[in-house]
Subunit: 194 residues, 2 copies
DNA sequence: GTCTATACGTCGATAGAC
DNA sequence: GTCTATCGACGTATAGAC
């Protein structure tokens, strides 16, 4: 039903957004990248804002699809390391997300609501899963809610660091795995002491 | 020596940048906020880019100034909690930083170099301090370098979460303190087990 | 493809201080 | 009479809308 063109435009928009952010993106640039004219783009998406929101949805879909392949929850540290690796294998997705979310922190950007919702649902999700498995406190002694916040912050922060300096450190998935195993308090990982 | 005007313009620029990001900021808006015209601003700062860079320097100066008041290193978890609290007491600084850094992830933004340098120097700094105190491994078993990365990522991530949803959770400084005490492995903090 | 809006940066001008 | 602070007007580029 959705024409192939629509998909192509979304792909093109993802690239341009990743490269220039929302404010910096012109419909012309998206159109050129997709091989049609501005009017062609506006035929499928009524406005730049709607286009952005659909790209964000696309990203969500891709992420969920990827996670669905794993048996999430058996190996938390591994799951998160994998999620980080996935982002790093798809730099456009990662950059788009980072830039657009930050822009949304700003005044009245269209993605503001999206960002707030995402922030809350991800935290609730994490807290729910952790509580289901560990109860009120993680084995490390951390409060479950605190742990969920820390996990989320850590992942977001790692993405930012990686994007800020892609020539630097690139063992982030491994870093995440080790840190998580300490935070959770499982000792399923080589947390070699002294 | 620098005229008072200059300072006023920097202050105004900080506000506007925090509110609209770099791309969204017009010299006109800064000028209006500072009570003069675009040309007046351009008299003190040759370009929008230079203005941005000076605002980033200003932020650095403020941060250093604030940290100089503490006896940094005696209580790591406390230091970081304090740093987070400081940011939250100065929302303009925090938002400006977050938005501008994220924009810099993008193509050829002026702050790109600044961000990469900051990323490296902060990590090196942290790693150096941690190594000086703990050696190759933290008491928690984490590798020192890994710990430094995790600390930095955690702080950056927490800022982002806070900015994304300021109506949500607001115990971030406390969260940071608790998480750090687990990551480092000091048990100087109520990490109540079971 | 044209219209309109906005924004950057330059040029020349004015007015006061030294 | 030159230096500093500021302004108005202009040229150009880009983006969104129809």
């Amino acid at each position: 039903m959705v024409s192939a063109r629509r998909g192509e435009i979304l792909e093109a928009a993802l690239e341009v957004l990743a490269d220039r952010g929302f404010k910096g993106t012109s419909i012309d640039a998206v159109a050129e990248c997709a091989g049609l004219t501005r009017q062609g783009v506006l035929h499928y998406f009524p406005s730049k804002t709607r286009l952005l929101l659909e790209v964000l949805d696309l990203r969500n879909a891709l992420n969920r699809e990827h996670l669905a392949d794993r048996n999430v929850g058996e190996d938390w540290a591994g799951d998160f390391a994998e999620a980080v690796a996935f982002e790093q294998d798809h730099p456009s997705l990662a950059r788009m997300q980072c830039v657009v979310l930050a822009e949304a922190v700003t005044g009245q950007e269209p993605a503001r609501g999206y960002v707030r919702d995402r922030c809350r649902t991800v935290q609730d999700h994490l807290a729910g899963h952790l509580a289901a498995r560990y109860g009120d406190r993680l084995p490390s002694g951390l409060d479950t809610r605190t742990g969920a916040i820390a996990l989320f912050a850590l992942i977001e922060g790692v993405h930012q660091l990686w994007l800020a300096d892609q020539d630097g450190e690139d063992h982030y998935p491994e870093v995440v795995r080790e840190v998580l195993s300490v935070l959770l308090g499982d000792s399923a990982v080589p947390a070699v002491k002294g």
